[in-house]
């Protein structure tokens, strides 16, 4: 246990002007690269890592944490304003954010995203600072069998997002799972469906698929619809009401349970390595929609939908550090990059970290809290800037966005192969959207499929092929029962909806 004096010393390290300056710089960079389609905070962090070597560890890690957190807020901006999310978790924010923007309330939509993102992030940071040790123990108990059951539960909750046509939903999910199987199989490393392309050995590059399906397909659709007319990317018609440009306290407070649910889902999923913010954002969204008295208002600009998605995906970032700091296990690519920054300074995240580096860790906690506040402040200014940007003619905005996506994917995937994959998936996304197949369902299945497959394979080895052995795993049993209950509930809801 770290003594009180060390904690205070750590916090005071974080509050030096020098360190705060780096955190602020990180937040500004993060919000910018998050908001610019195609680049994203992960690439910015990867580029910055070698330069943190020459810096003081707290300043370097504080900067990276700032980039990571800033990226979350920035990532919601293109999703809400232009319906072009750069990451799949932001696609959940776009579901209600974009309709609200289209209704002439872009500032309200982006502000709700900002406030709920900071709320979720702060919640998970508090959990990290106060109860990371017990949560890490729970995360350790979640072996492959439990993770498999959790994935089943996730899919059962997400089935609420399928929409009107069950068949089209199933087709979209199956296509997503099929694309997720491309690459070496996780058990025997046998290449599947790669057709001689070794670039596909690790599967389709995630960044290329996400940006192609979500951002480029939307850009193509908008450019196709513009038919040569010059019009702004986002129609910022002034409704004349000041209330449409801000989020009132009453509106924020009305979302408190939604944000609490989202932050809790995000924190729990974030503490378990490898599940990620996409599942959290969509689970929170689906759960909020199911619990709502007016589920039909979702997808049409409901503030609760934005709050659900943003609070959950942001909460994942803080709690991703729980397994990282306590066990030395990164929960995401962003966390893996932060681990690299620790390691190049000779600091080994893991069981001895709090004992050996207590002061640094509490300094990091201080930096995280300050990064949240700065996110709020920088976001308030930044959002106005982005809204001015998207008021430019859409041919200009979308052409620039297209170029940035190509550059970003080329950087992230190491060349033109990734760009070709991105364009292929953009075509698929365009066709799917045109024929009423859910791109969101496809993306969720694609992202969660490989994790589902590997936990199934691992679980079967651990059970020695005997599925009845699952009864000796109480957490898995509870999750499977919850999944069954959720599916029954969903089917009954669906039946009632059809009867109505």
């Amino acid at each position: 246990m770290v003594d009180f004096a060390t904690m205070i010393a750590g916090f005071s390290d974080a509050f030096t002007l020098w360190n705060l300056g780096f955190v602020l710089f990180g937040v500004v960079v993060g919000q910018f690269v998050g908001a610019v389609p195609g680049i994203g905070p992960v690439m910015a962090m990867a580029i910055a890592i070698p330069f943190t070597f020459g810096m003081d560890p707290l300043a370097g890690i504080g900067f990276l944490v700032g980039v990571n957190k800033g990226g979350l807020v920035g990532g919601a901006v293109p999703a809400v304003l232009m319906n072009t999310p750069g990451t799949p978790d932001a696609a959940a924010t776009a579901l209600d954010g974009y309709p609200l923007s289209k209704a002439g309330k872009p500032l309200k939509a982006t502000k709700m995203a900002l406030f709920s993102s900071v709320t979720g992030d702060t919640f998970s940071d508090i959990v990290l600072i106060t109860v990371s040790a017990p949560l890490a123990i729970i995360a350790l108990k979640m072996g492959p069998i439990e993770i498999f059951a959790l994935m089943i539960f996730t899919f059962s909750v997400l089935s609420g997002l399928i929409g009107a046509s069950l068949i089209k939903g199933i087709i979209a999910a199956t296509l997503g799972l099929l694309c997720g199987t491309v690459g070496a199989d996780p058990e025997h490393y046998t290449p599947r469906l790669i057709f001689g392309q070794f670039e596909l050995y690790d599967g389709f590059p995630l960044a290329a698929v996400a940006i192609g399906m979500l951002a480029i397909s939307e850009i193509l659709r908008r450019l196709a619809q513009s038919q040569g007319r010059v019009r702004p990317a986002v129609d910022l018609k002034d409704t004349g009401h000041a209330a449409d440009r801000r989020v009132s306290w009453a509106e924020y407070w009305a979302c408190r349970f939604t944000m609490l649910r989202g932050a809790s889902i995000g924190t729990l999923l974030g503490a378990m390595p490898g599940i990620g913010s996409t599942a959290a954002a969509f689970m929170s969204y689906a759960a909020t929609k199911s619990a709502s008295d007016a589920p039909e208002s979702f997808g049409k600009g409901n503030l609760q939908g934005i709050a659900a998605a943003e609070s959950a995906n942001s909460a994942v970032v803080g709690s991703n550090l729980i397994p990282l700091l306590t066990l030395g296990i990164p929960g995401s690519v962003g966390a893996a990059l932060i681990i690299s920054a620790f390691m190049i300074h000779g600091i080994q995240p893991g069981p001895l970290l709090f004992q050996d580096q207590g002061r640094l860790i509490y300094g990091l906690f201080g930096a995280m809290i300050m990064a949240n506040l700065m996110n709020l402040l920088v976001g308030q200014v930044g959002l106005r800037f982005w809204i001015k940007v998207v008021a430019a003619p859409e041919t200009m905005i979308f052409a620039s966005a297209l170029l940035l996506c190509i550059v970003g994917v080329s950087l992230a995937t190491g060349g033109l192969f990734g760009v070709a994959v991105m364009l292929g998936f953009a075509g698929l996304g365009y066709l799917m959207a045109s024929f009423g197949y859910s791109v969101v369902i496809f993306i969720i299945a694609f992202f969660l499929g490989p994790r589902f497959e590997s936990s199934l394979g691992q679980g079967l080895v651990l059970l020695n092929g005997d599925l009845t052995g699952v009864i000796y795993h109480p957490i898995a049993m509870i999750l499977l029962l919850c999944s069954a209950a959720s599916l029954v509930w969903f089917l009954r809801q669906n039946q009632h909806a059809h009867e109505d």
Partner: protein, 314 residues
């Protein structure tokens, strides 16, 4: 000193001066790409990016690090093997995935060992078989006995050669080990800490858990012992004729101008000798930097291919 020796010394000195003059003259035309065969965030990526940064500072060349993922370096080296040999690209990968694929599916891999000019290595990963500190065995013999007595135990691995190494043990002892594949070392360590598997492989990051008392070493997977655990035998020492020796290595397209090749190898060697890279390698890979040099790197790859054949029971 005889005249002959003096002359020989002078000639050697002169030729070295000329050679270094030539090296100083050669510079890549345009940017030099250091392609890393793994994704951002791992140990290969971190070392590669720092080496690129130090090379740039030391040589003044425009060195750009970029990730080219796919099959543990297979996609990246495929690209390099097809490029014109201009000395403007260096690939950084790990030997084992390349050697496994060259052995297992040579007809599908569009290159062979001769498709490259080798430039050096930066380190050898420390492969260890570890178990949780409270595991009911302390060495490989004990682990085999325990597995036999309990109907088999689960062992985690994150690279095919580690599994093959244990298959060699399994074949000889009928130990009935079951293998759980993980995506990366960290996931395997989580399974060991969580008690879901009894033992597993790690390639360096286990050292922190040894220090904290959470893990114990069962055996070494490399063909020589580790400096931090000199009493732990290698699996090879224990009579199983196989090992896993993953090297982080550099290569460029075969047929590169010898002058360019020497300049690239020297620039890499100088960067690896810098304090910054030495420290980063120790911190990231938990091992001392090790540059075998151009010739020995090629020999390491040739020997490695033979050893992979042994792992596959050939």
């Amino acid at each position: 000193m005889t005249l002959r020796k003096t002359l020989a010394g002078l000639v050697a000195g002169l030729s070295m001066t000329l050679a270094s003059g030539a090296l100083a003259d050669w510079a890549p035309k345009g940017p030099l790409k250091l392609q890393i065969g793994f994704a951002a965030g791992g140990s290969t990526d971190t070392m590669g990016r720092v080496i690129a940064k130090v090379m740039k500072e030391q040589t003044g060349w425009n060195v750009i690090a970029e990730n080219k993922t796919g099959g543990g370096g297979l996609a990246m080296f495929t690209g390099i093997s097809k490029m014109p040999a201009r000395g403007t690209v260096i690939g950084m990968g790990v030997n084992m995935p390349i050697l496994v694929n060259l052995n297992k599916r040579p007809e599908q891999v569009p290159f062979d060992l001769d498709s490259f000019d080798y430039l050096g290595t930066v380190a050898r990963a420390q492969v260890a078989l570890v178990a949780r500190a409270d595991a009911p065995f302390d060495d490989l013999a004990g682990m085999i006995d325990y597995s036999k007595a309990n109907g088999g135990i689960a062992v985690s691995f994150d690279a095919a050669p580690q599994k093959l190494l244990m298959e060699v043990v399994n074949a000889k002892e009928a130990a009935d080990f079951r293998f759980v594949s993980t995506k990366g070392e960290a996931e395997g360590q989580k399974l060991i800490l969580g008690g879901q598997v009894m033992a597993g492989f790690s390639a360096g990051t286990h050292v922190k858990y040894l220090d904290s008392g959470d893990f114990k070493m069962i055996a070494v997977g490399n063909n020589s012992r580790h400096s931090y655990a000199p009493n732990t035998p290698t699996i090879n020492d224990l009579g199983y004729d196989a090992y896993v020796d993953p090297y982080f290595y550099f290569a460029t397209t075969a047929g590169t101008d010898p002058e360019a090749k020497a300049a690239l190898a020297d620039a890499l060697a100088a960067a690896i000798e810098s304090d910054e890279v030495q420290k980063v390698v120790r911190n990231v890979a938990s091992t001392d930097p090790l540059n075998l040099g151009a010739e020995a790197t090629k020999a390491m790859m040739v020997d490695g291919l033979q050893n992979v054949g042994v792992l596959f029971g050939q």
